[in-house]
């Protein structure tokens, strides 16, 4: 992004643009103003939809409900002779509350089921509008007093548009925005790095609803009449959604460009083409979906057109934080982590008869163990023995069927995943799960924004550099995480876990598939974080030679049960462990069993 266009210039140009748009009702004719007004409304609807869809990844196909509820709430008050601003405010508040109410059942769903459920909301609310006649006047609709309000309505809509754009910028520059983006990528992982997702989801839905309602209220004012079919009709409900998807959801300029292009196209088709307008419009939508489904701004050919390329920028803020002239002054080994002094005999983590059962399948079978602060403990066992499930029980990805998990003496029973993360449990996953469409830097910055002492996004991005250097990913700082190789992803995964500033680090098979040199590096990292920062580590691993170098003791699992717990040298000679790994004919080959 060219640095010559600094923030000040940007705002000046923006103000000029808005002033130009504001002059349209006075300079242009009523037709252009009406079309302009429709586009403004479409932008408000489209952008507010995109906060939930493009930013957070939840496709709310019933967004138009908020528009309709806002229109009705506004109309009811206006007919009751309340002042305009009170009516608009009422519409916004009522709709936001409705969104809060509906979010309770809705957010129990994910992905496609969420989309289905939201789609079904439209006919439901339409029926409510038809039947709650004392409030909504039923099928008659609400007739508002005729007032020629096109100009003031246009100006108010323009104001709301500007506000919408500003809110979009603010969201993307804030922790809230990063919470949204982390949810978009991987909700579960987001929680285990400390993001509280439930309030975030509710808030963004309410925000989206509030702006949708404002659009509905202003348009109802301008049209001076609403009835159920007009505001809840399925034939118009998907139009703002299509407009955003057309250009590119999740992009800064996506909704705006999409609205401009498609609304203009629609008007043009309407006045210049006699017949088949819907077919042509549908054909264009279809072709974009087939050939440029990320929106046409994400297509490859756009990169070659300078003007369009500028419009196609994704929301990656604080990129400048990686360009600070001086490289990280401190040596690569100094991380901004607190140093834990591990005194006292109380165990850091304690499992008491923990059982995890899925239907008839017992994955973790009454396991009890304790780990002292500052220990590095290896966790071994054949595939399917319950190692990862154990990790999941500790980090609350699963809730244990029975038993207790105590962390620093505190029972984790009533803690949520993000609370556990903030208490000091960090983990990696067996198959790396980075936040794919975010940069490496953003991936590390997110835990820094959401842990016990949260940092602002700017500070977090700065501090993330240290972790990235530590993981030797400095050259990949601004690349998307999903473009990394497997080894790089594992390094990122590890660095991200460290960025959670944990007291207990759960490492899940980080060394598989790596070269001996890379394995050695990990071994050193693990030793280093314990020696220098006092972290306690549980390491699931199959590569015994790696474990051998660094673990204090080893715990072995078999089919969910704990079968051995002691120093490595002892455990690998344990008969049960051997038979579990090598089969029951093993005993005669004991001599060769060492150090496998």
């Amino acid at each position: 992004m060219s640095k010559s266009l600094n923030a000040g210039t940007g705002w000046l140009l923006g103000a000029a643009g808005v002033a130009a748009l504001a002059s349209l009702p006075f300079l242009g004719n009523a037709y252009l103003t009406t079309i302009g007004f429709t586009m403004l409304i479409a932008y408000i609807l489209g952008q507010s939809w995109d906060w939930v869809a493009g930013e957070m990844g939840y496709v709310n196909l019933g967004h138009y409900c908020f528009y309709g509820i806002g229109a009705y709430a506004f109309a009811i008050l206006l007919v009751g002779h309340w002042p305009l601003w009170v009516a608009i405010g009422f519409a916004v508040v009522v709709t936001a509350l409705a969104a809060l109410l509906i979010s309770v059942p809705l957010f129990r769903l994910h992905g496609d089921y969420f989309a289905f459920a939201t789609l079904a909301l439209l006919p439901l609310v339409e029926v409510l509008a038809y039947n709650l006649t004392p409030i909504t006047n039923g099928a008659d609709g609400i007739v508002l007093p005729v007032a020629q309000v096109l100009q003031p309505a246009y100006l108010i809509a323009l104001g709301v548009c500007v506000l919408t754009f500003v809110v979009t910028l603010r969201i993307n520059a804030s922790r809230f925005g990063y919470a949204l983006k982390s949810i978009r990528n991987d909700e579960q992982v987001a929680e285990t790095v400390g993001v509280r997702i439930a309030p975030v989801k509710r808030s963004v839905l309410m925000l989206s609803a509030a702006f949708g309602a404002a659009a509905g209220a202003v348009q109802a004012w301008q049209m001076s009449y609403i009835d159920p079919a007009t505001v809840f009709g399925l034939n118009v409900a998907l139009v703002p959604v299509a407009m955003v998807l057309f250009a590119g959801s999740g992009l800064r300029w996506g909704p705006l460009v999409g609205v401009l292009v498609l609304a203009t196209l629609q008007q043009w088709l309407l006045v210049s083409v006699k017949g088949f307008q819907a077919t042509l419009y549908g054909l264009i939508v279809l072709l974009i979906g087939r050939f440029m489904p990320g929106g046409f701004l994400r297509a490859r050919w756009v990169q070659n057109v300078p003007l369009l390329r500028a419009l196609a920028r994704e929301h990656h803020e604080y990129m400048g934080e990686s360009d600070t002239g001086t490289p990280a002054a401190a040596p690569a080994h100094d991380l901004p982590l607190p140093r834990h002094r591990n005194l006292g005999g109380a165990p850091l983590i304690q499992l008491e008869q923990v059982r995890m059962q899925f239907g008839g399948n017992v994955a973790v079978n009454d396991v009890s163990l304790r780990i002292q602060p500052g220990e590095i403990v290896g966790l071994i066992g054949p595939n399917g023995s319950g190692k990862t499930t154990l990790f999941n029980c500790i980090s609350r990805v699963y809730t244990p069927t029975a038993g207790r998990v105590l962390f620093a003496g505190q029972d984790l029973k009533h803690c949520s995943r993000d609370q556990i993360a903030r208490l000091g449990v960090g983990r990696t996953y067996q198959i790396p799960r980075p936040f794919g469409d975010l940069t490496v830097q953003e991936n590390i910055a997110i835990p820094l924004m959401f842990n016990d002492q949260p940092l602002s996004p700017r500070d977090a991005m700065r501090e993330a550099r240290a972790f990235i250097e530590y993981a030797e990913l400095g050259h990949r700082l601004r690349e998307r995480a999903d473009s990394l190789s497997v080894q790089e992803k594992k390094a990122l995964e590890f660095a991200r876990a460290l960025a959670c500033k944990p007291r207990l680090l759960l490492v899940d098979e980080v060394a598989s598939g790596l070269t001996p040199a890379e394995v050695q590096r990990f071994v050193e990292h693990i030793r280093h974080v314990r020696d220098r920062y006092g972290m306690t580590v549980i390491w699931v691993e199959h590569i015994f030679s790696a474990l051998e170098k660094v673990v204090d003791r080893v715990i072995a699992l078999e089919q969910g049960s704990l079968i051995a717990d002691g120093p490595l040298a002892e455990v690998v000679r344990n008969e049960r462990v051997l038979s579990t790994y090598l089969g029951s004919a093993a005993p005669t080959e004991k001599a060769g069993g060492q150090g496998c």
Binding site: A117, L121, L286
Partner: protein, 288 residues
């Protein structure tokens, strides 16, 4: 008492028809994981075609089905290959968005072309047979035959799913696409076949639908929404579940009309669905 019985019968018949609309969509979604927004419109357009065939060429409904089903099968197969399959290669986000845009575009095109070619007015197949009377209870013969057709169709499809290789492959892919591939199921061909098969069932559903209720080119989307509701409640890919869900909805709507007010019946399905989803986020009968 007789009134209640009458309403129950009516509800079952209506519900069965709803379920039929949802069958194809359930299969398609289960295997191909595509939100096909054009599904209802395909039914509406097929219904218009069927009505034209009946009134214009005096074709018997069974003949219409026999011609329409293969036609839809072939068209859907080609449609999948040209428009939908290439999207699967993209990222998950782009694939989802792409299919939404493609199917929404298709629905607009289909409605418009049909309205231009055949007119936008409502049509149906006005075939009427004498009703059966049991004392004070009257059962419409047409609807009884339709229910029979639905039952037969359900049983046949259920047998196909349970006994044939195709059916087993469909269920395998629904449960675990990767595992199925490892076992030799050609994923792409399976998806295309399922899409085509699901679309072909629309032909049958359309003819049965249009024997009871009128259709016009623009009503499709509303039907799609209802079908989605049924799939969610009955569980994806679960055909008997969809039938039960459909019947449940039909009966619930009828009872609402009887004991409360008919105006509220259409809202019921959505409210029920939302309640179900809160209680069972994965659908009531989630496994195939």
């Amino acid at each position: 008492m007789e009134v209640l019985l009458q309403v129950l019968i009516g509800g079952i018949l209506l519900g069965g028809l709803y379920a039929l609309v949802a069958f194809g969509l359930s299969l398609i979604y289960g295997v191909v994981r595509i939100l096909n927004f054009a599904h209802g419109t395909l039914l509406a357009v097929s219904g218009v075609l069927a009505s034209l065939a009946y009134s214009g060429w005096q074709m018997h409904p069974v003949l219409i089905v026999a011609l329409l089903a293969p036609l839809l099968f072939v068209c859907a197969y080609g449609y999948y290959h040209v428009l939908l399959r290439p999207l699967a290669r993209r990222s998950h986000f782009e694939a989802t968005v792409g299919t939404v845009l493609v199917t929404v575009g298709t629905l607009m095109i289909l409605s418009d072309l049909t309205a231009v070619a055949a007119g936008a007015t409502q049509r149906n197949i006005p075939l009427r047979l004498e009703a059966l009377e049991f004392g004070d209870i009257v059962v419409s013969t047409t609807q009884l035959l339709i229910l029979l057709g639905i039952a037969v169709l359900t049983v046949v499809m259920h047998l196909i799913l349970k006994r044939t290789w195709f059916g087993r492959a469909v269920r395998a892919v629904t449960q675990d696409p990767v595992g199925a591939q490892i076992c030799g199921v050609q994923s792409t061909r399976m998806k295309a076949l399922t899409f085509a098969f699901g679309s072909a069932t629309v032909a049958i559903a359309a003819v049965l639908y249009v024997l009871s209720f009128p259709v016009d080119p623009y009503m499709g989307f509303g039907l799609t929404v209802k079908a989605f509701t049924i799939i969610v409640v009955g569980g994806v890919g679960n055909l008997p579940g969809a039938l039960l869900a459909g019947i449940f909805l039909g009966v619930a709507e009828g009872l609402t009309g009887l004991y409360w007010k008919p105006e509220w019946a259409p809202a019921l399905s959505v409210i029920l669905m939302l309640l179900m989803l809160v209680a069972y986020p994965k659908g009531v009968g989630a496994k195939t």
